[in-house]
């Protein structure tokens, strides 16, 4: 594969299926996340996160912290960039996390104080998971 192919390789949306969780912080600094994942999600292959906050001054919106299977020692931390500086690429972050039955997605979003409480924004967490084509 050429170097340019590696850099700009677009994501194959048919290689996984996708499940979307939406969080609306509603002006609070700390937003708790607790979401029961559907039983058909067995292995999470990747995560992609977007947010609707836009600003020319503030580059980051806050920090997202997630854990799976109730394992707080294995946590997924992600500082969320302002949408203006987030490149419009489709590839999710690789994860390869196998879920226990009846697993919950738990964690929190800690928003930057200067955005609060006046700015409304929405955070979307895209869970890319394995599936079997019938």
């Amino acid at each position: 594969m050429d170097a340019i192919d590696k850099i700009y390789n677009p994501y194959d949306f048919s290689s996984t299926r996708c499940y979307v969780i939406v969080i609306e912080p509603h002006g609070s600094a700390l937003t708790k996340i607790e979401h029961k994942l559907p039983s058909y999600i067995r292995t999470i292959r990747g995560i992609y996160v977007t947010n609707t906050f836009r600003s020319n001054i503030i580059n980051h919106v806050g920090i997202l912290s997630l854990n799976f299977n109730g394992n707080a020692f294995k946590t997924f931390h992600l500082p969320l960039p302002n949408t203006r500086i987030q490149p419009e690429v489709s590839n999710p972050l690789n994860l390869n996390e196998r879920l226990e039955p009846n697993s919950f997605l738990q964690g929190y979003f800690y928003g930057i104080k200067s955005l609060l409480p006046k700015n409304y924004y929405r955070i979307s967490i895209y869970i890319h998971y394995d599936y079997e084509r019938k």
Partner: protein, 128 residues
């Protein structure tokens, strides 16, 4: 012999805030596989609108899936801008809903571009 690749466009006009557009189309019967998708909108701030889409009764993009992830990638060179898919075409039903979430500036146009391919050259559809 038909061309190996076709780019099939589905174009809609969004005229008001919060509008829902029902997508009900069919891929070209002469092409076997849908290998890519790309979305173009004439209003940048509409990129947080959502697109739920099924191809051949299989959900490809779920509810609440933002168009942002399927847009023409501004940092990618021409020819690298299609997001990859591997779904059966050949007359597959393409169904879904686009929900507008823009702030203002109506109307604007939405174009969903599907890349259809035949992995093998074929004479299907040839008229002697």
């Amino acid at each position: 012999m038909i061309p190996k690749i076709k780019y099939q466009q589905l174009t809609y006009t969004v005229t008001s805030g919060g509008q829902e557009i029902i997508i009900d189309a069919e891929t070209d019967k002469l092409y076997k596989t849908c290998t890519g998708i790309n979305v173009v909108m004439t209003y940048d701030s509409a990129k947080f609108s959502t697109l739920q889409l099924t191809i051949n009764n299989l959900e490809v993009f779920p509810d609440k899936f933002e168009v942002l992830r399927l847009l023409f990638r501004g940092n990618a060179p021409f020819g690298y801008d299609y997001h990859r898919l591997n779904e059966p075409a050949g007359g597959s039903k393409v169904k879904g809903v686009f929900k507008d979430n823009a702030v203002s500036s109506y109307p604007y146009n939405l174009t969903i571009s599907l890349r259809l391919e035949n992995t093998e050259p074929t004479d299907a559809g040839k008229v002697d």
